[in-house]
Amino acid sequence: MKTLVALLALTALALLGSRVSRVWVRERSSGRVLVASGLGYLILGVLLGPLIGDLLDRDVLDNLLPLIGFALGWIGSLIGAQFRWGLLKRLPFRLHLAATLYVGSVASVVGVALLWPLLPLTPLDRLVLVACAIPLPVAVFGYAAKLASDPERGSGMLVIAGLADVLLLVLAVALPLFEWVATSGVTAAWGGLLVLGLGVGAGLTLALLLGSNELRRDQFLLLLGVVTLWAGFATFFGLSPLGTGLIAGIVFVNLGRRSRAWSIATLGRFERPIYMGILLVAGALLRPVDPLVVLLVLALFVAARTLALAVAGQLLARVARVPIPGRQLFAILLPQGALGLVVLTEARLLYPDWIDPVVTTTVVAAFVLFALASPIAVETLTEHRLRQRKRAPE
């Protein structure tokens, strides 16, 4: 019964979410609506989860995990599909460098902070925290790029493309490391090879099947089938469906000539409901923990990430020459990307007994705190835009 209610709640929320998203698109000049994006689902997950409502209890979550495996594969494919070689080649080098610097600075600052030996965390816990600190908020960042756009330089577009680059790097770097930390170097090497093989196989299957089948309804069935099949293989072997999907997306977008644009659009159409489902589940993953330990880890995580973003903001402004001053860029970067929670969910799917509940609570609480920073970011940007407009007539 609970699984039924959970599934219904997910579906109802997906419906509601797509409505909210349309409202958001219409009224995006209002910063407060940005807060609603994603955060509501996470909080609802917390309320429905074992910690409070106990509607999404362990059994229900176990029943939902196969859906999560498929959802991770779908998101991985969508992110991978942004990685078109032709498009990336056209981007200036400074953007790639900026993306690498961003990931490097956040990973090192947060990583170093979490190395503090007094924290009761395993290496895997620390790695999950570092990975969750990196993803950027696509909505806020996209909005920022639009506000600061300069048609002549096309900076808005470039920033968004650079962001995709960053997200890819996060995944590509973090996932094999999970395996390495969780098991051993040899297992990780085999796991990495298998993920690579499965991903390439999935991408080739997509390119081959979608390239030779013309009907749109057939292509949807195939897209759904292939993503599910390869996410299924990855999960079956205890490997990363997100990583497999990512590689599949990269292979497909670079080798599949026909139906490429349609496939990416279709993958994107279901992105929001899938994200909402994952956020709901991530919220429900919270377990009772020692509040003092959580406060300690959370404070350290939030401080380290904030510091890292201040550094990254300066780097992006100087290296990528994003037409927004470094301090304001820092404010824009503050909200944590929901991809962080996706990575957390995958870690919980693959290593259910290895991730400390403190890590889950920290990531969820940090996401809420950083999401509340969205209005500040939007306000900062709006002010910047207004100043630009005032300066323009002069």
């Binding site: 699984t3 419906l15 797509s18 089938g225 299924g232 079956f236 072997f237 409901p273």
Partner: protein
């Protein structure tokens, strides 16, 4: 040829991965995702392959399911097939919603008498002939050999009532696949849906009558009939209630109709099981209510169902194929084949007589019987009830029923497609 190569490649890949998994002695993690993906991809390719050789797609789905299922290649284990049963329930709800939305009272008003007469002739014909044939074959059937006449008669009574059932899911899938429209399509669909209702009542009555014949200690009891009555009326009530509720919010669901329909199917599938209702009937009534009372508003919903129908059919029929028991068929094929032939003959006679009596369209008289051959979920469900009610000899009768389903499921879609083609109703929905 292209689809065959692709299908072989996908199956080889799956077999290789499973072999590697076994070789590494790993524990399978959530095999249901893999099973769903394999069914979708292989089912799709099997469907296209079937289409390429002029067969219905659903025959391709069934054959692929059979091929990759535990009975042949074993790529899907029994546990995997079992783990996908919730998806199966959702698929049944979606298919039945479509069926309900295909029945328009205004269109049916003129032919209502015809449908009643045809249904009655069809049911009586099949019941009487199958009953008699099983009685005649009883000396050759293991668990009936040497038993008293009352026992054999009671078993024949139950078996005859199960033989009446036709699969509405196959009927709807074939109609949708070929976008068929016309007197044959409408009549077969209406009768199939009506029979689905009648068969449950008929079966319950047969069970109530048979029980005291089989066990002298048991008196004639209407308890079972009462339970079935509650189930049927409860399902109709739930369907009307749900239809009314959906009609209130349906206008607000436009772009998200696919998601909405999936949510509705989950609700019906799961809630019906919990409330001891018949999910097929609840969905049928909900669809019927929406079609006849909110036709214009229900259009986005119908589009939503159509958009999701291909994956649903692929999963549903491939799972049906994977669940076919070839071992039962191998053991009992002479008896099963004889009973299938007799049932088909009875269907022809019953439909012909009913069409003559009611003055139905000539295409119904000629080809109507081809639409009633298939049997699937409902029949299987009834056989499970028989096993539960009569654990001593129930499994024996279930084996024959399962063997017959295997044959009916394979030839049913082909026969109905042939009938629709002969009647000239294929592709008429778009015209």
């Amino acid at each position: 040829m292209r689809y065959l190569v692709q299908l072989v490649a996908v199956l080889a890949l799956a077999a290789g991965a499973l072999w590697l998994h076994r070789g590494l002695a790993l524990d399978p993690v959530h095999p249901e995702i893999l099973a769903t993906g394999l069914i979708l991809v292989a089912g799709y390719l099997g469907g296209r392959l079937a289409q390429a050789i002029k067969l219905p797609r659903i025959t391709g789905y069934i054959l692929i399911g059979l091929g990759i299922g535990p009975a042949v290649l074993g790529l899907l284990s029994e546990a995997m097939v079992e783990s996908l049963q919730p998806i199966n329930g959702i698929a049944v709800s979606l298919i039945a919603l479509t069926a309900g939305m295909e029945i328009n009272v205004a269109r049916l008003r003129k032919s209502w008498n015809q449908i009643l007469v045809l249904t009655a002739c069809n049911i009586v014909g099949v019941f009487v002939v199958v009953f008699a044939m099983l009685y005649l074959l009883s000396p050759w059937i293991g668990f009936l050999r040497g038993e008293p006449t009352t026992f054999i008669l009671a078993v024949c009574l139950i078996f005859g009532s199960v033989a009446i059932a036709t699969s509405p899911t196959v009927t709807i899938a074939v109609i949708n696949e070929y976008r068929a429209k016309g007197p044959l399509t409408q009549t077969v669909l209406s009768i199939t849906v009506l029979k689905d209702l009648v068969v449950i009542v008929f079966f319950a009555t047969a069970l109530a009558v048979a029980k005291p014949l089989l066990d002298e200690d048991l008196a004639f009891s209407l308890d079972f009939l009462r339970t079935i009555g509650v189930e049927i009326f409860g399902s109709i009530f739930a369907g009307v209630l749900l239809g009314w509720l959906v009609s209130l919010i349906i206008r607000r669901v436009q772009r998200e109709s696919t998601l909405f329909v999936i949510g509705l199917a989950i609700l019906i599938a799961e809630a019906s099981v919990r409330l001891h209702l018949e999910p097929l009937l609840v969905s049928l009534v909900t669809g019927f209510f929406l079609e006849n009372l909110t036709a214009r508003d229900a259009e986005p919903m119908l589009r939503g169902i159509e958009r999701s129908s291909f994956p649903v059919y692929a999963i549903f029929f491939a799972l049906a194929g994977a669940g076919l028991h070839l071992d039962a068929l191998a053991r009992l094929w002479p008896i099963a084949l004889t009973l299938v032939a007799v049932r088909i003959g009875a269907l022809w006679v019953g439909t012909y007589a009913g069409a003559r009596l009611s003055g139905a369209d000539p295409v119904v008289r000629k080809y109507g019987w081809l639409g009633f051959i298939s049997q699937a979920g409902v029949t299987l469900g009834l056989s499970v009830i028989v096993v539960r009610a009569f654990p001593d000899w129930g499994p024996g009768i279930q084996t024959i029923i399962v063997a017959m389903i295997a044959i009916h499921e394979l030839i049913g879609p082909l026969a109905f497609h042939h009938g629709l083609k002969k009647a000239g109703e294929v592709g008429k929905r778009d015209a």
